[in-house]
């Protein structure tokens, strides 16, 4: 029962708007944790806070019980945190393999040695490429490695983005709506991949998702937020039975 990532009483204000109001949540190592809530609840803002793309006004974000205030967004990956974005953020004009390789950027070592292709750097490049191909296989992308990302269907692009995050060999991966816009088949496939990433690679997963059946199926634990504040948290079964959650999603029964 060790918590890998924890945020305590985090508040984010955009001018007068309070996007996150004293949100607390923790992610236990080795689990798949869901973060759900209606549109505008502050999920993506919280994700940006956790991955240091967004500063917060109050509270603490702890990773391995260490405060990450001073870290830049590009330094989070060295700590072991990788993420994907809600609107796919890939390098569209590059091949799938190059996209995955960028994920392993923090392993290239000394940039100077790397750009002159010194022997050490060359060995390193081979190792990175080999691992990238293994990850591609795990995500069923091995036939697409030489294709340009912009030519791929949406569901595959989602997988490429996940592969890029996994190439960093993270401890935890933050997935922002991994199945949004995917059809049933793609959703089932991604669900399976998330479970395998968690079981086989031992990567902790924190995911934001609107597809409830998928969240209930893959998550060990779920945090619900609404209007930028904590609403409930518990196992999928507890969340399904929580009256506050039902009210938030379906609206108050006024009659």
């Amino acid at each position: 029962m060790t918590s890998l990532l924890r945020c305590e009483q985090v508040t984010v204000r955009f001018g007068g708007v309070v996007a996150c109001d004293k949100i607390s949540l923790d992610v236990e190592a080795g689990k798949v944790v869901g973060l759900i809530g209606p549109n505008g609840a502050g999920k993506t803002t919280l994700f940006n806070v956790l991955s240091r793309f967004q500063d917060y006004d109050e509270g603490n974000v702890l990773y391995h019980d260490q405060n990450v205030d001073k870290k830049k967004s590009h330094e989070m990956i060295e700590l072991g945190m990788a993420r994907t974005f809600q609107n796919i953020n890939l390098f569209a004009e590059q091949t799938v393999l190059d996209n995955i390789l960028i994920g392993a950027h923090h392993q290239i070592g000394n940039p100077l040695a790397n750009m002159f292709w010194l022997p050490g750097a060359r060995r390193n490049e081979h190792a990175i490429t080999k691992r990238a191909i293994e990850i591609a296989k795990m995500l069923h992308l091995e036939d697409e490695l030489d294709n340009l990302v912009r030519n791929l269907p949406y569901g595959l692009q989602k997988r490429v983005e996940m592969a890029r995050a996994l190439a960093a060999e993270p401890e935890i991966i933050l997935l922002d709506e991994p199945v949004a816009g995917c059809n049933d088949e793609e959703t089932a496939e991604l669900k399976d991949i998330i479970q395998r990433v968690n079981k086989e690679l031992g990567v902790t997963v924190l995911l934001v998702e609107h597809d409830m059946s998928m969240v209930m199926a893959v998550c060990d634990y779920i945090h619900v937020i609404n209007f930028g504040a904590n609403l409930a948290s518990g196992t999928p079964a507890e969340i399904r039975a929580d009256s506050n959650v039902i009210k938030a999603y379906l609206g108050e029964d006024d009659s």
Binding site: E75, N114, I128
Partner: protein, 298 residues
């Protein structure tokens, strides 16, 4: 003839420098004439006052341009797109004013340089051409390695999506500065050669922004993110005025027309279009090899 050929080599090299920044890193520069001038004056002053070897002058020019490029990269840290273009244009004007007015650069009077020496031996036009080609071979090899390395990947990642690049661990400040430094260094080396090709430099030429514009045109026409791009673009820009000498200003019109045509028909540059059949052929080879493999497997 040899010096005309050397001029083509210099244009190709300068365009290579621009392509690192504009093609691979996605930062449009309209100021690389400034780096050409920095390289030219560094080597010229060292040769005039200290009688250094051409090789020393070239290396010193590369380092000086790299140093200024590094500083400029940090100054322009937050600029991108059109703002970067205007910022670098401002840099070219700034450098032009300095070369025109600071006494050591001798303004429009210009500086005459002694004969070119390589390892103590005086070299003529042909020797100078050979030296230029050797330097171009080195810069080409370097660019080839660079764009296929993890550093080159980081440049292209920043070009295509800064957010995704940063979330993948690319330090935006570090890699932008590296790109600026390398880009400036290569164009600075080209500048050193440009000073020694006629053994005379003056602010009348280097204080203007025409070099900057020419290099950008060369990079865009040739193809900015393809290894062969600067070769095609650099040769085009350097040779058009040569072949159309009698027509004088018409060469500018032709350059402009070709630029517009390329932007409309092949925005990724001529080299990219010419490379298509080669890439398609290589893909077919790979597919055939793969088919054979699977056949052998079953």
């Amino acid at each position: 003839m040899a010096s005309q050929a050397a001029l083509v080599v210099i244009y190709i090299m300068a365009a290579q420098g621009v392509s690192i920044l504009t093609g691979y890193t996605g930062l449009v520069t309209v100021g690389h004439g400034g780096f050409l001038a920095i390289g030219a004056y560094t080597s010229a002053l060292l040769t005039k006052h200290y009688g250094v070897d051409l090789v020393v002058g070239i290396v010193a020019a590369g380092f000086m341009a790299a140093f200024i490029g590094c500083i400029l990269g940090l100054v322009f840290l937050r600029l991108s797109g059109a703002f970067m273009a205007i910022g670098t244009l401002g840099f070219a004007f700034f450098m032009g004013t300095i070369f025109n007015n600071v006494p050591i650069f001798e303004g429009r009077e210009g500086i005459s340089l002694p004969d070119n020496r390589v390892f103590g031996m005086v070299i003529g036009d042909d020797g100078f051409y050979v030296v230029s080609v050797l330097v171009l071979a080195l810069t080409t090899l370097f660019v080839y390695c660079l764009v296929r390395s993890g550093v080159g990947r980081a440049f292209m990642a920043l070009r295509d999506s800064e957010k995704a690049a940063e979330s993948s661990g690319v330090n935006r400040i570090l890699y932008r500065t590296i790109a600026f430094t390398i880009s400036a260094a290569i164009t600075g080396v080209a500048g050193a050669l440009n000073a020694h090709i006629v053994n005379y430099i003056s602010a009348e030429v280097y204080g203007d922004i025409w070099y900057s514009v020419d290099f950008l045109v060369a990079t865009v026409v040739g193809g900015s993110a393809v290894l062969m791009g600067p070769f095609i673009g650099g040769a085009f820009v350097a040779l058009v005025p040569f072949f159309l000498e009698e027509l004088a200003d018409f060469s500018y019109i032709l350059k402009g027309a070709v630029l517009i045509g390329v932007l409309i028909i092949a925005p990724a540059g001529v080299a990219e279009v010419l490379g298509r059949p080669i890439r398609a052929w290589r893909r077919r080879q790979l597919a055939a090899a793969e088919a054979q493999n699977t056949e052998a497997g079953t």
